[in-house]
């Protein structure tokens, strides 16, 4: 068990009951978001370094050529992988991805996949050959809400991605034919419930105190593409609708930053 979380839970819960947060934010306020596209621009096809308050995440995109899935022979493929590196938190360990890393990767994946934001139809090369978009997300420093930071990093990196040149059955590294064809900007926004209060963008201490979490990925002002509830608590109908409203509201703001 996490002793730190156990010891701090009551203090944070009482603070939030009074409508206050440790860093003086409003309940529905995000921390400052900084996005640096092309952070590791020399080798990867695309990348983005995202700071969400003091949470830091780096996403990199690798473009490879491979065989399409039999049920969609004319479409490119995307995959999302996350690594909770031990450097990011005393609670992360080396070894294969744990359930938190798997869940996070799958939620980010669903948002991008279901929104159809990567135009996979344009990633067809020839019969039996398509582009594979590898989205790898590295957690660098966990200050809470890795979910949103990772989702923002992934979509920012995709918008930064260039399509490599492919000639004579070979990928020509370092030469590009254009941008990765993108059609949308899915943004996951997370709300958590502490006691009976819903708040946006939880910091680490607030994650210790939270009972449950709801992430909603929105792509336009009226389109949602993924949702995930986590944690051992429950939500009332009002909680759910409030989280959805908040996600649409913040999604709109964050989309502007990502598309800049």
């Amino acid at each position: 068990m996490n002793i730190e979380a156990y010891l701090r839970k009551d203090y944070i819960t009482n603070l939030i009951k009074e409508g206050k947060r440790l860093d003086n934010r409003k309940l529905d306020e995000y921390r400052k978001i900084e996005i640096q596209k092309g952070y590791v621009g020399e080798k990867a096809s695309g990348s983005a370094f995202v700071k969400l308050g003091d949470t830091k995440v780096l996403a990199g995109i690798s473009m490879n050529v491979g065989t399409p899935y039999p049920d969609s022979p004319a479409s490119g493929i995307m995959t999302v992988n996350t690594e909770f590196r031990p450097m990011a938190s005393p609670h992360f360990e080396t070894g294969p991805p744990g359930e938190k890393a798997v869940e996070l990767a799958r939620v980010v994946d669903r948002g991008i996949r279901e929104s159809g934001s990567i135009d996979t139809g344009k990633l067809f090369i020839e019969d039996g050959k398509v582009w594979i978009v590898f989205i790898d997300i590295h957690m660098i420093d966990d200050g809470g809400n890795l979910m949103d930071a990772a989702g923002i990093a992934a979509i920012s990196a995709l918008l930064d991605t260039k399509l490599p040149k492919y000639e004579d059955n070979q990928v020509i590294r370092g030469e590009f034919v254009g941008k990765l064809p993108m059609t949308g900007t899915p943004v996951p926004c997370t709300s958590v419930k502490v006691g009976d209060t819903m708040l946006s963008d939880p910091a680490t201490d607030e994650e210790y105190a939270m009972d449950s979490r709801l992430t909603v990925t929105t792509t336009t002002a009226d389109m949602m593409n993924a949702m995930q509830k986590g944690g051992k608590g429950s939500f009332t109908d009002e909680n759910v609708m409030q989280a959805v409203d908040l996600s649409f509201k913040h999604g709109k703001e964050i989309r502007k930053l990502v598309e800049k």
Binding site: M1, R110, M224, M227, D237
Partner: protein, 237 residues
Amino acid sequence: MELIKDGKRLDGRGFNELRDIKIEVGVLNRAIGSAYVEWGRNKVMAAVYGPREMHPKFLRDPTKAVLRCIYNMAPFSVEDRKRPGPDRRSVEISKISSEALSHVVMLERYPNSAIDVYVEILQADAGTRCVGLTAASVALADAGIPMKDMVASCASGKVNGEIVLDLMKEEDNYGDCDLPLAVIPRRKEVVLLQMDGKLTQDEFKKAYEVAIDGSMQVYEIQKNALLKSVNEVKIGE
């Protein structure tokens, strides 16, 4: 793909209609509690072991029991054989199922111990996480482990532009959206909620209500199955 014809679905169901659900309680002899659920063409078994000693030791929680739900699909449960063992999908479903069940089981009564819930998907035809959770909840009740409430689960979704309850395989594959949900029926609060596909905010509100109503119907079936299993016990046996 045309999934709705003359206001009816491929299997003749209306928009808010569940598939046939049959629940059997106490089907295994070794497990403390168990349940078998047939739900449309899904066949799912759940078993509960514990409270028992927690291994490995570092996972022990001195304040309460830890509930571990393991969701596993049999290789033959789907047409294209599933590679045995955990994959990313089953790891995710195990995690959210564990969290949903942890909300209702009175874990604080059994510090340092483990409660293990095993969900085996023997035949899959869409909605297996909801079927698994429904079975797991009945198995926990059958085990006599103190719970604050049941967990009842059902999905809704969007098919050919219509919001419908309890997607079958074809609707899941070719529909526009899937929204699995689980409630604790007495307080009508949500303990599992996922969505993937395309929904507007208004469509979501509708799909959410439809899934809650479906879950409440599932709860009645769970309750009846449990009552029947208790009434069947004869003194002296």
